[in-house]
Each structure stands twice: as structure tokens, then as C-alpha cells.
């Protein structure tokens, strides 16, 4: 035993020493002639280019009564553009094995392009066409609309999805964050081709664009492509305005009755904004509370010791204009009350007694030591390059990110736990037929 401990001590020291050395993977800032910027990690190991990008502004900007517009546009941009109708466009993508897709997030509208180097000219051209000359022909518009409607109807019966939707609707009541990204049956039916065109014209612009690229391309070649692909986008997006929102519904419990054998439980409380100086303390606290895989407190109390759930976790959810700490679990209807009681106990315990120095140290060595694990594929690295820009973290962030975690003290975490975690303020949604749990008035 003593020997094992010595070995581990040595390893802990190594983690701290090793982490910065890895971050040397160089991110280059590439700026095109017309001023379009991308962050690049050049890597010629495989003949592949992975590009990810995001426009600030997501589904939260969908017009009232047209919820789901950004999501529907995302599903249609690769369904025909320029001279290529939907069939020709998708056949070209498929035949050349070019991956091109778009996704609507709450705060961003994102896209991915992945291609073999041999096909990059076509890939970049299709991407340009998709963003600047989408066709929105009747056939794909109606086909995609009916697919989205099927998805919405199905998710109304899926306990996890229904629980999340109800939670956001509750804590962000009256705010755009309370609406589902994919909309409702009514709103999706109301979306017109004119709406889709105005989405593209008003939202995809150069000023709110962030690009990350990984792979077999030089900075000079990328700079040229940036102008060709994104140069025709308008310089500015249509002005928009969202306001900071405080979650509401603290302390409420909402039960949505569904005849399912296992209840889906989700919960939320006010969290910490990404730019808040306390973010890193919250990050470490949440890791100890419910994000640490097989080692978190919630995992230990609810799954390991009691066998109450297969899945139980918590997570930080910073939006651009709000922040939550959220979580979820799934348990048999008869055991929901027990699970909620344990959840609230853990919440209170951390608020009142804080975490131990050992928990803090272990969390830090995990969070710093596991950072390189985010860099295992081109797609993930490219996403991270976009994330760094969207969150305004700076191009040298990978070099000092672990330092920010190291700086978090026991006082920081415990002060934050007292401030954030209040079991009486948790908003809880249960979908199922829970025994002994009812909606609060």
C-alpha cells in the first residue's frame, strides 16, 4: 500500500509538469485578404481537412411564432444551392464523402465541413453555395418540415426530452431560452421560405463568424479559401437584442404524468456565467459534486451506495445571457422520492460543509491531467478552436487554462458552494409516475 501511495505522489507531480508541454500544439491565426479570420492547427498526418465554424446568435433569436426557424434552416442549407438541386447537392456530397452539416444551438448557429484533401475545391464551393445561394425548393422544404414534425411528436413521448423541455420552459419562462430549439408543431408549420431566406440574409454575417480548422492545409491556402467561401457573406448581421435573464421557478417541483416504468428527473438552479471570475471555482465544484464520471458525490451517494440510478450527473450550463447548474437522473417510479431526498442532501451537504482539500486536489489533477484528452480527433480540436473564439478566451488559452484551475482555492470552492447550492431553490421536473412526489402548488 505504501508503495502504491509513493508511486501516485510521483505521478501527481508529473501531471502538473506534463500538462503545459503538450499545449505546444500551435494554433495559428490566419487572416484573409478581406479580413476573415480563422484559427488553424496545421497537421499533415492524414489527407483530411476538418473545418468548424459558428455564427453568434442561435435559436434564441427565432421570431416569436416561428420558433424552430434556425433549426429548420440548418436542416435545409445542405438540401440544394446554386445550380444544384437537393438531389444533385446531396449526391455530390455523398459521392465525394464530404461531410457538410449545420446545427442550431441556443446561442450560436454552427457548421461543419470535413473533406479529403483531394476533394477540397468542391467541398469549399458547396459550403459557399450553401450559405450564400441556398435554394429552399419546395420538395426539400416540405420533406424536412415533415421530418422535424415527426421528431417533435416523438420527443413529446420521450421522458428525458420532455423533462428537459419542461425544465427550460419553467426556469426561463417568458424568455427566448425557454423555447425549444426545434420549435413546436404550430410554429414549424408557420415557417415559410421567405422566413428561411430572411434568416440566411440576416444572420449569417462576417462580423459574428468564428472559424476553426484542423488538418492538411497551409495557412496561405486557407487564407485564400476563407475569402472564397465566406467573402460573399454580408459584413454585418441584422441587429438583435437579448437581455440577461435570471432563472425563475426556484424551489418548484413539477411532475409530468407519463405511464413509463422509469421516471426521468432533471433539476436546475442558478449557475455562474462563463466570464464570471468564479467560473473556474464553479467548474471544480461541479466536478466534485456531479461531473466526475465514476467518482462524483452524486454518483457515489445515489448510484454506488444505493443503486438508485444508472445515470446521475450535474453540469454547468453557461448561456450568453444566463447561467444554470443542471443535472439529471433516471430511477424507477417507486424510488423517485428517495433519489430526490439524496440529491437535496448532497446539495445541502456541499453548501454547508464544503469539500475537503483532498477532493479539491483530486479534482484539480483530473481536470488538468485530462485536458489533452480533448485533442484526440480533428473534429474535436476544430470545435475547440471555435469554442475558444466564441467564448473569447484567447488564442493562448490552452497554454494557461490549467493554471486557471490550479489557482482555485478551497475557500473559493466552499464560498461558491454556499452561494450557489441551496436545495430549497432547486427547480425539479419529474416525468413518469413517481410515487410520493407531486407537483408543488
Amino acid at each position: 500500500m505504501a508503495k502504491v501511495r509513493t508511486l501516485l505522489m510521483a505521478l501527481v507531480l508529473l501531471v502538473l509538469a506534463a500538462a503545459p508541454a503538450f499545449a505546444a500544439a500551435k494554433i495559428e491565426r490566419v487572416v484573409s485578404t478581406s479580413g476573415i479570420e480563422a484559427w488553424l492547427i496545421e497537421d499533415h498526418t492524414n489527407p483530411i481537412i476538418s473545418m468548424r465554424f459558428a455564427f453568434r446568435g442561435g435559436s434564441a433569436l427565432d421570431p416569436a411564432d416561428k420558433e424552430g426557424l434556425a433549426n429548420m434552416a440548418a436542416a435545409l442549407l445542405d438540401e440544394g444551392a446554386g445550380e444544384l438541386d437537393s438531389k444533385a447537392f446531396s449526391a455530390t456530397l455523398e459521392d465525394l464523402s464530404i461531410g457538410l452539416d449545420f446545427q442550431a444551438g441556443v446561442d450560436t448557429f454552427g457548421g461543419n465541413l470535413k473533406t479529403l484533401v483531394d476533394n477540397k475545391d468542391t467541398a469549399f464551393r458547396l459550403l459557399r453555395l450553401a450559405m450564400t445561394e441556398p435554394r429552399f425548393d419546395a420538395e426539400p422544404v416540405e420533406r424536412v418540415r415533415s421530418q422535424i414534425l415527426v421528431g417533435i411528436r416523438q420527443s413529446a413521448e420521450d421522458p428525458d426530452t420532455l423533462a428537459s423541455r419542461t425544465l427550460y420552459k419553467t426556469v426561463f419562462a417568458g424568455h427566448a431560452y425557454g423555447r425549444p430549439t426545434d420549435g413546436t408543431e404550430v410554429s414549424v408549420n408557420a415557417i415559410t421560405v421567405a422566413d428561411l431566406k430572411s434568416f440566411v440574409a440576416g444572420r449569417l454575417a462576417r462580423e459574428n463568424l468564428y472559424i476553426g480548422v484542423v488538418g492538411d492545409i497551409t495557412p496561405a491556402a486557407l487564407a485564400k479559401e476563407l475569402d472564397a467561401v465566406f467573402g460573399k457573406l454580408p459584413p454585418k448581421a441584422k441587429p438583435w437584442m437579448l437581455t440577461r435573464v435570471e432563472p425563475v421557478g426556484a424551489g418548484r417541483t413539477i411532475v409530468v404524468e407519463k405511464a413509463v416504468p422509469q421516471s426521468a428527473i432533471v433539476f436546475a438552479e442558478k449557475g455562474v456565467m462563463r466570464a464570471d471570475p468564479d467560473f473556474y471555482a464553479a467548474f471544480v465544484m461541479n466536478h466534485i459534486l456531479g461531473s466526475g464520471g465514476f467518482t462524483s458525490r452524486l454518483y457515489d451517494a445515489i448510484r454506488e451506495k444505493r443503486g438508485l440510478a444508472y445515470e446521475v450527473h450535474s453540469g454547468l450550463q453557461p448561456f450568453d445571457f444566463a447561467a444554470l447548474i443542471t443535472g439529471g437522473a433516471g430511477t424507477a417510479n417507486a424510488r423517485v422520492a428517495d433519489t430526490l431526498q439524496l440529491l437535496r442532501q448532497e446539495w445541502a451537504k456541499m453548501a454547508e460543509k464544503g469539500v475537503t482539500q483532498k477532493e479539491l486536489d483530486d479534482a484539480k489533477t483530473f481536470l488538468t491531467g485530462s485536458y489533452p484528452l480533448r485533442f484526440l480527433s480533428s473534429d474535436r480540436i476544430a470545435s475547440m478552436l471555435v469554442g475558444l473564439q466564441v467564448e473569447n478566451l484567447g488564442i493562448d488559452y490552452p497554454d494557461h487554462r490549467n493554471g486557471l484551475i490550479e489557482k482555485v482555492t478551497l475557500d473559493d470552492v466552499n464560498r461558491l458552494a454556499r452561494k450557489l447550492l441551496d436545495p430549497k431553490r432547486l427547480t425539479v421536473v419529474v416525468v413518469g409516475k413517481p410515487e410520493g412526489v407531486t407537483s408543488s402548488p
Binding site: L7, L8, L11, V12, L14, A18, F22, A25, N46, P47, S86, K87, S90, A91, L93, E94, D95, L96, S97, D101, L116, R143, S146, Q147, V150, G151, R153, Q154, E157, A259, V260, P261, Q262, A264, G292, G293, F294, T295, D300, R303, E304, K305, G307, A309, Y310, T331, A332, D362, F366, L367, T368, G369, S370, Y371, P372, L373, L376, S377, S378, D379
Partner: protein, 439 residues
């Protein structure tokens, strides 16, 4: 393109030849070792694959392979329950495990300078597992919750279980990997340890390490930790085989939770190991032609005829036992299931009558070659594909020469495979329908 139905992952099982270029060696006790170098970051993925899955379970013990997988985290003579995970986490590692019909695997991803520590711990739990009744009973509750969330809460998954039981008359793929609920409840510590002792041994395991490592560096460590474990007596996987199938079967599941009905037909099919194996590669190409974003079925049923919201096919050649070729579709609102089925049958008839075209085959092959290039990018893909292949009775060559073998498939072979395999007498047609609500 909106993907409504989760297609099989692109690399589900088998990818490309000369793609991973692994190094391999064997330990004296029979444990096979595979190294997949990838030097992007100083990290490795370490996996131990056991050649045992749910299809190797005994009568009445469904779910035991998966239950053991959970219990492998509960400690050894040297380590308390959960200690493995705590040590790993403290060192910045991530881990998990998974069980399939044909294998069980444990994996960690961690900085390469921690590899030795992981190997010591993984080797320790290969033979030194310690279980007590309380831990076993508590974890059983976790597995029952896992079953509820994966299966019972999901009408599509409930139907899938029934389809498997109907498709395989005798082969153990008819049982769910997670197990039938009543049999999970009956599992106990003794049964699990018996299963563990029978199957967990170096000569029934494959070590795969991918990442910033070479065989030369790994070999002394593998010998030190895994090589020190004595081989168990020869372990044979003896599974019952499938009798001739003679009757078309239909399985209909109605559930009030279904908002969107779906149709599928599951044909018993050869794999690379069982049945008329020469059809396996042609069936892979056929599935690419029929399924896929602009494949025949999507284009015909969804785009042109507008009777379905999704349609496609799936097939995996790398099962150790008999595989299945699946056709599926989900109707547009207002389109009856009869009409959908008829349209799918028309597609099959057309395939039998006219076959696939040279151009379809050439395009499919090109796409499949590209998949092999993409597969090289992620560090974990090579480890997963090679590990799964070896644990399912295939060889490194089967993986590395895959593009070549796919490249050699002809139009005639695909047409012959389609006619041989897509026969109703060896198929289950499955319907997922809405049960009108009573209340």
C-alpha cells in the same frame, strides 16, 4: 439532410486496410497485443478485450456478461471498490467499459506517462476480483435501472428485443445483451464469479493500445503485467447454431407512447464467420447502395414518392455469429403501413429483377475507401475496430485488407448476395404501432 433514424455508425465494426498499420505481438501466455501508433498528443487509449459476450452466456443467465462488466469496478484483493476509478481520475484519465453479444471491453484514455499504472491495475482485476453479496445486490439495482432506461422506457427498444427473439430460432443472439429482467434479478455472486473464472484469462483476452506509443516500448510493460498471469486451460466458445429457417415471421408491437410508426424487415444473413460467408463483402456494398443519405431507399421512398420520412438499410459483417440485413422505413403522416410495406417490397423486387448498376457499385466503393481514410484520424477508432475484430474471431488482415476486399466486389456478386439473402422465409417483419390511448 436531417438524420431521423440513427444509422449504424459509419465505422460500425469494419474499416480500412492499411489504414491503421498496427504492430502486433503475442505474450507467452497467449495474450494477443496490438499497438496502433498515433503521435498527435502524448496520450494513449488502453483497452483490454475479452472474447466473451452475451452470446456466450448459459441458459437462464442472460445479462451475466454485462453484469460482470459492472462488477469489475468493485475491487480486488489489492483495491477497494471504486478505487481503480479514483486512482485513474486523480491521474487525469477517463475510462469506461462495454459489453456486446461477442465481447466485453474495458478502456482508459490517459497521458502516456501513466500507462504503466493503468496496466498494473487492469492486469490485477483480470484475475483478482473480489465481490461481496451487498455490492452485487446494489449493483444489480443499477443494472435494472439501466435496463429500464435503455429498453423499457423506449418502445423501439422493446420491439427490437422481440425481433431478436423471433429472428434467431436457436442462436443466442436471440437474448438481449443486458438480459431479461427476471434473469437479471436471479443472478448472484457465485454465478458471476463462476462466469468470471471461466472466461477472464490472458489467453482469452486482447490488449490494444493506441496513441503515443510503439510496440518496442509497450512490450516490456505488457510482459511484466499481463505476461505474469498464467494462462487458463484452453477456452472454447461453443455456441449453438441456427437451424434452417423456413417461415416468414411478423412481430407487431403497439404502445401508447408511439407517435411515429415504423416498419422494418430483418433478414438472417451471413457474417464473415458464419453462413455463406462469400456474401459478406457484397452485402456491405449493397447496404451502402440501398441505405445512406442519397441511397436508393431514401431517394425512392422519401424524396421521389414522398411516402416515408426516413428509409434505409443496415448490415454488419463482423459478427461472430449469423448477422442480419435490415431494411427500414417510417411513413409520412397519412400513409398506411400496408402501402409502405408494399413500396419496400417493390424496391426489393426491382433489385432482384434489375440488380445494382456498375455506377452504383463504383460510387459505393469510392465512399467506403474514403471511410477508411477518415477512420485513421481519431485515436480511438483504430483501437476499437481492431479490438472488436480480434475479439470476434477475425484477424488483423481482415481489417487491414478491407478496402482491397471491398474493391474486389463485383456487380454479379452483389446481385447474387441480394437474391440469396433477402428472402422472406428467413426474415422477421417488424411493426411499431401506436396503441390508441384508453383513458
Amino acid at each position: 439532410m436531417l438524420a431521423l433514424v440513427a444509422l449504424l455508425p459509419v465505422f460500425a465494426g469494419r474499416v480500412g486496410a492499411g489504414v491503421f498499420n498496427p504492430e502486433t505481438f503475442a505474450l507467452a501466455n497467449g495474450m494477443m497485443v496490438v499497438v496502433v501508433p498515433n503521435h498527435r498528443v502524448p496520450v494513449v487509449t488502453h483497452m483490454v478485450w475479452y472474447k466473451v459476450g452475451s452470446a456466450d452466456e448459459g441458459q437462464g443467465e442472460s445479462g451475466i456478461a454485462h453484469f460482470l462488466e459492472h462488477l469489475m469496478f468493485k475491487g480486488t484483493h489489492k483495491r477497494a471498490p471504486g478505487e481503480f476509478s479514483k486512482i485513474l481520475a486523480r491521474n487525469g484519465g477517463r475510462e469506461n467499459a462495454f459489453t456486446s453479444t461477442d465481447y466485453t471491453a474495458y478502456h482508459q484514455t490517459i497521458a502516456v506517462d501513466r500507462l504503466e499504472m493503468i496496466m498494473e491495475m487492469e492486469a490485477d482485476r483480470m484475475t483478482n476480483l473480489v465481490l461481496d453479496d451487498r455490492v452485487v445486490e446494489t449493483e444489480k439495482q443499477v443494472v435494472l435501472e439501466e435496463r429500464r432506461s435503455r429498453t423499457d422506457n423506449n418502445p423501439g427498444a422493446v420491439l427490437q428485443e422481440q425481433v431478436n427473439a423471433a429472428l434467431y430460432l436457436n442462436y443466442p443472439y436471440r437474448r438481449p445483451v443486458i438480459g431479461w429482467e427476471h434473469e437479471i434479478r436471479a443472478l448472484n455472486r457465485e454465478a458471476v464469479l463462476r462466469f468470471y473464472k471461466r472466461w477472464y484469462a490472458p489467453n482469452n483476452a486482447v490488449l490494444v493500445v493506441a496513441g503515443d506509443i510503439t510496440a518496442a516500448k509497450l512490450k516490456p510493460l505488457a510482459e511484466k503485467y499481463y505476461g505474469a498471469i498464467p494462462a487458463a486451460p484452453a477456452i472454447a466458445r461453443e455456441r449453438p447454431s441456427e437451424p434452417p429457417q423456413r417461415a416468414a415471421r411478423r412481430v407487431t408491437y403497439r404502445d401508447a407512447r408511439v407517435r411515429q410508426p415504423s416498419w422494418s424487415r430483418h433478414f438472417l444473413a451471413p457474417s464473415l464467420k458464419v453462413g455463406d460467408i462469400r456474401h459478406a463483402y457484397p452485402l456491405e456494398v449493397l447496404s451502402d447502395i440501398l441505405g445512406g443519405a442519397s441511397g436508393r431507399l431514401y431517394r425512392s421512398l422519401v424524396v421521389d414518392r414522398k411516402i416515408a420520412v426516413s428509409a434505409g438499410s443496415s448490415y454488419a459483417a463482423d459478427d461472430l455469429g449469423p448477422s442480419r440485413f435490415v431494411l427500414y422505413a417510417s411513413p409520412q403522416p397519412g400513409v398506411g403501413m400496408d402501402k409502405l410495406e408494399e413500396s419496400m417490397e417493390t424496391e426489393i423486387a426491382k433489385l432482384f429483377a434489375d440488380g445494382v448498376t456498375e455506377s452504383e457499385v463504383a460510387r459505393a466503393k469510392k465512399r467506403m475507401r474514403a471511410q477508411a481514410v477518415y477512420a485513421r484520424d481519431s485515436m480511438r477508432t483504430g483501437a476499437r475496430v481492431l479490438g472488436a475484430a480480434l475479439a470476434s474471431g477475425l484477424t488483423i488482415d481482415d481489417v487491414e485488407k478491407w478496402p482491397e476486399r471491398i474493391g474486389a466486389v463485383t456487380v454479379e456478386q452483389i446481385n447474387a448476395a441480394a437474391r440469396a439473402v433477402l428472402q422472406d422465409s428467413r426474415a422477421v417483419t417488424a411493426l411499431l404501432l401506436q396503441q390508441p390511448k384508453k383513458e
